[in-house]
Every structure is written in structure tokens, then in C-alpha cells.
Amino acid sequence: MTWIFLLSGIFLGWSLGANDGANIFGTAVGTKMVRFRTAAWVAAAFVVIGAVAGAHGTTKTLGRLGAIDAPAGAFVVALAAGLAVVLFLARNSLPVSISQSIVGAIVGWNLFTGRPTDLVTLTTLLSSWFVSPALSGAVAAVLFVAARAAIPRLKIHLLEVDVWMRAGLIVVGAFAAFSLGQNAIANVMGVFVRVSPFPETVSLGPFRATSVEMLFFLGGLAIAAGIVTYSERIMRRLGSGLTSLSPLGALIVVFAASTSLFLFGSAALQDFLKAHALPGWPLVPVSGSQAIVGAILGISLVRRSGIRYRVLVNIAIGWVAAPLAALIFTVVGLFVFQNVFQLPVSSTSQRRPAAASVAPPPVR
């Protein structure tokens, strides 16, 4: 049964891969700097590596927000988060993100099951939604100014710049895919950690993997499948219409956005900073799409090419609308699962015996 519940997480991973894969290589493929097949396989490989090897910092943060401990509960939370995104993306083209809807869905589960919501973790998550695009915008702006000053001084032939740019787009795309896998795996599989259907340890020849690693590997594969099977059409649209970025602009935007995803997702970096008594920051899943929009805005500011404030307003609407919708979907979904399908949605909720509801009152 738990395996079936995992399907919602796999679907979530697949849709995340289709959208965020397009963010990573969109301009590179749209402008024909990189072939789709190359882009898709590089992204797929590194997203799986990031998901499995990138430690579990962001998952722990989501776990602190709500410790979902029943498979049906996890299924509803993941499904509601996915539905909220699909609904807003499809209907209004708002840049909403699974990173945000999952928070609403978990809070919805807390409300439904009467568990307390850790307000410190919630505040941390909410502030990261603002900090992440702002950080990638700042990184993009600095890099853009530096590149604009440095490239002409290097006196490299225009055609050689092109070769470097193609190689750079692939390397940065691989880094972006790694960061995405590391950061977003919490969104996809985080809610299933406590209800993983995998055995405690799995041995495959010389390799040994824990239950959580297997879960994340599966989630990584789902994201990779989304990239390989469905991101192409979104990439072509990104590269040719919605954004008019040059390959250099794309390189900087993707690098800046993945820096933001990496910083908010890397437990290894966090451990390193702690070991050297340096200040750290919370590990939270942040939106890849919004980090990209932040980076594009950063470059627009430097180029003084004008900012479409509507984009900023849409992001802010997404911050409220996506979690709210996910919260409502979760509460409704949990109600249906508990009362119609009679499945426990948390370890403390009781499966109501079918007979109890129709039992006659005791005769006195």
C-alpha cells in the first residue's frame, strides 16, 4: 500500500523535473547552444547525484515543520502540494513553486491532525522565499558587471568565446542540476521519510544504501524522468519567447540561481562553516524558478533595462496563493482519506471501524 502512496511523490518529482529542468538549460537549448539530448542527460545524472549525495539538510527542516508519520497523510500532502502548483501554473502562469506549496500542505496536515507547527521553522522558511531570489539577483548582478568588464579585456576571438560559453553552460547546468537535486529532494520525498517502504539498509553488491537514500534515489530518478521526458517543450518556449537572454546572460543567471539553491541546500557547506566557527544559515528548500527570476531581475537592474514590476507582484501572489491552496487541498484530502477511505492520516488518528458508525445505540 505504501508503495502506491509513494506515487504522489514520484508525480511531484516528475513535474518538478519538467519545470526546473527547463529553468536550468532553457536558454542554452532554446538558443541552440546546447543540444537537448546533452542537456537532458547531464541534468538527469546530476540531479540524481545531488538528491542522493547532497545530504539531507532541507529534509530535516521540513521534518521539523511537520513530522508526517502515516503513508496516507504523506500521500495527501505531496498530492496537494503538486495540485496547487499545477493549478496555478496552468491557470494563471504564476511563478509558484512546490517549495512553497509543500509548506502550506504540511501546515495543513498539522492543523488537521492537531499537531503544533514550529513557528521558528515556519518563519525561517518564509524568510528564505524572499532571501533566495534576492541573493541570486545580487550574485547575478555582480557576476554580470564583472563579466562585462573582463571579457573584452581578455581579447578572445568571438568564436572561441562561443566555445567557452557552450562548455560553461554545460558545467554550470550540471552544478545547477546537482543543487536542484540536493535542495528540492525534500519537497519530493521529504514527507515520506518517516513512512519509507524501503528496508532499513539495502545491499547491492559492494554498495549499501539506507532506506532514506533509496527513497531519495527514487525521488531523484523521478525528477530526472521529468527532465528527460517533458522539459523539452518548456525549454524551447523559454529560450525563444518568454525571456530574451543572451548565452552569457543565461550562464550567469543559471549560476547565480544554483548558487542560491546550493547555499540553502548544502549540509556539507553548513558543516564546514560550523567547524570553522563561521556563521551559517538555515537549510531550506527554495524555489528554483524564483531564484532564476531573481537573477534575471538582478541583471535587468544593472543593465537598467527596466523591471516588469508585474513579475514581482506575481511572485508575491505566488508566495501566498500556492501555500494557501495547498493547505486547503490538504485539509480536504485528509478529511476524505480519513472519513471516506477510512485510512489513518497520522499515527495518532484512529481508523474508525466501519461497524462503529452503524452500531445501534445500547439498549437500556
Partner: protein, 214 residues
């Protein structure tokens, strides 16, 4: 790394070869005019043949470069500009060849008093073409140096305008048949066109350079 740049280096060499052909072709044009004015027909015919070869070489190189840029999807964001640039710079050597050919066909009877004026006009046109070639090379390798060359193209174009105006006034102040005067003015216009073509390309190049630096 060598493998990565092998195809690019071959294309770079072709672009350099094209620019060399245009540069040498315009120098041959100047020598051709000088020999015509000196009435050294044998050498003039040699130059006429040489410029035709340079023009044909430039044409085939340009087509090859354009095909490769598209076939290999190179420099997607600057491809249109580079193609525009190469096609227009090719017009410069086309113009030089056409003018030299007109001398061969129509054989204008240039009075000895005007020979140095025609030669000065041709030299100004060739200077502007030479600086244009340097500007295009800089566009590929050293974008910051492009404006230095472009302003020299404009300088020699203005110089050519001034010399052409002086030459036309001189022609019409001389005691010659009106038909001959018109014929001589017609050749003055032909020689002057070389610098105008160079100026057209420099105008485009100035815009492409701004596009690359923002």
C-alpha cells in the same frame, strides 16, 4: 582542449583569409588605378585579373563561413550581425573590382593634369577600406579597439568626399567637351564609391559593437 577548439580555429582562419582577400584586393585596386593613369596597360591588365581572383576567393570564403556558422549553430546571438557584416564587407571588394573593370571597358581619357587627383581619390578610398578591415578584425578579437579603426574609416571617407568634390570642380572648369567632362565625372563617382561602401559597413559595425558591449 585542442579538440574543442579545432573546428573553431579552422573557421577563424577562414575569416582571416576573407579579410586578407578584401585587404589585398583593395590594394590591388589602387595599383590598378595607378597603372591605368600611367598608361601601363600590361600591368593594369595583371591587376584587373588579380582583383577578380581576390573577389571570387572572398565570395566563396564568405559563402563557406556563412554555411558553417548556420550548420554548426555557432554564435547564435551574434550570427545575424556577423553574416550582415561579412556580406557587406564583401560589397567593398565587389565595388573595387567593378570600378577597375569599368576603366578597362570604357577607357576614360584622363588628362595628365587630373591623374594625381584620381590617384589621391583612389588612395583615400583604399585607406578607408584598409581601416575597415582592421575594424572587422578587431570586432572578432578585440572589441575595445573597434572604435579606433571606425573613426579612421569615417576620416578617409570624408577625405574622399572632399577630394572628389575638388576633382569634379576641376573637371568642369577645364576646356573639354561636355561629353568628356561627364565621362570623367562618372569615373570620379565610381572611384569615390569605394569609401562610401566602407562607410556603410562601418555604420553597421558601430551598431554591432554597441550590441556586443552592453
Amino acid at each position: 582542449m585542442t579538440l574543442l577548439f579545432r573546428r573553431t580555429r579552422a573557421l577563424e582562419a577562414q575569416i582571416d583569409e576573407l579579410l586578407n582577400a578584401i585587404s589585398e584586393g583593395t590594394l590591388v585596386f589602387q595599383q590598378g588605378i595607378a597603372d591605368y593613369l600611367k598608361k601601363d596597360d600590361e600591368r593594369f591588365q595583371q591587376h584587373l585579373k588579380a582583383i577578380a581572383e581576390f573577389e571570387s576567393k572572398a565570395d566563396s570564403l564568405r559563402r563557406e563561413i556563412e554555411t558553417r556558422l548556420y550548420r554548426e549553430s555557432l554564435i547564435p546571438d551574434h550570427r545575424g550581425d556577423v553574416l550582415g557584416l561579412l556580406e557587406n564587407i564583401d560589397n567593398v571588394i565587389d565595388e573595387a573590382k567593378k570600378t577597375l573593370n569599368q576603366f578597362s571597358v570604357e577607357r576614360p581619357d584622363v588628362p595628365e593634369d587630373l591623374a594625381s587627383d584620381y590617384l589621391d581619390l583612389a588612395k583615400a578610398g583604399v585607406e578607408s577600406a584598409q581601416h575597415l578591415v582592421s575594424a572587422v578584425r578587431a570586432f572578432f578579437r578585440d572589441i575595445t579597439a573597434v572604435p579606433d579603426h571606425i573613426h579612421k574609416v569615417y576620416f578617409y571617407e570624408k577625405e574622399a568626399d572632399r577630394l572628389a568634390d575638388r576633382l569634379k570642380r576641376k573637371i568642369f572648369s577645364m576646356d573639354l567637351d561636355l561629353a568628356r567632362k561627364i565621362h570623367l565625372r562618372y569615373f570620379c563617382l565610381h572611384v569615390e564609391t569605394l569609401s562610401d561602401r566602407a562607410e556603410d559597413v562601418a555604420d553597421r559595425l558601430a551598431i554591432y559593437t554597441i550590441k556586443r558591449t552592453i
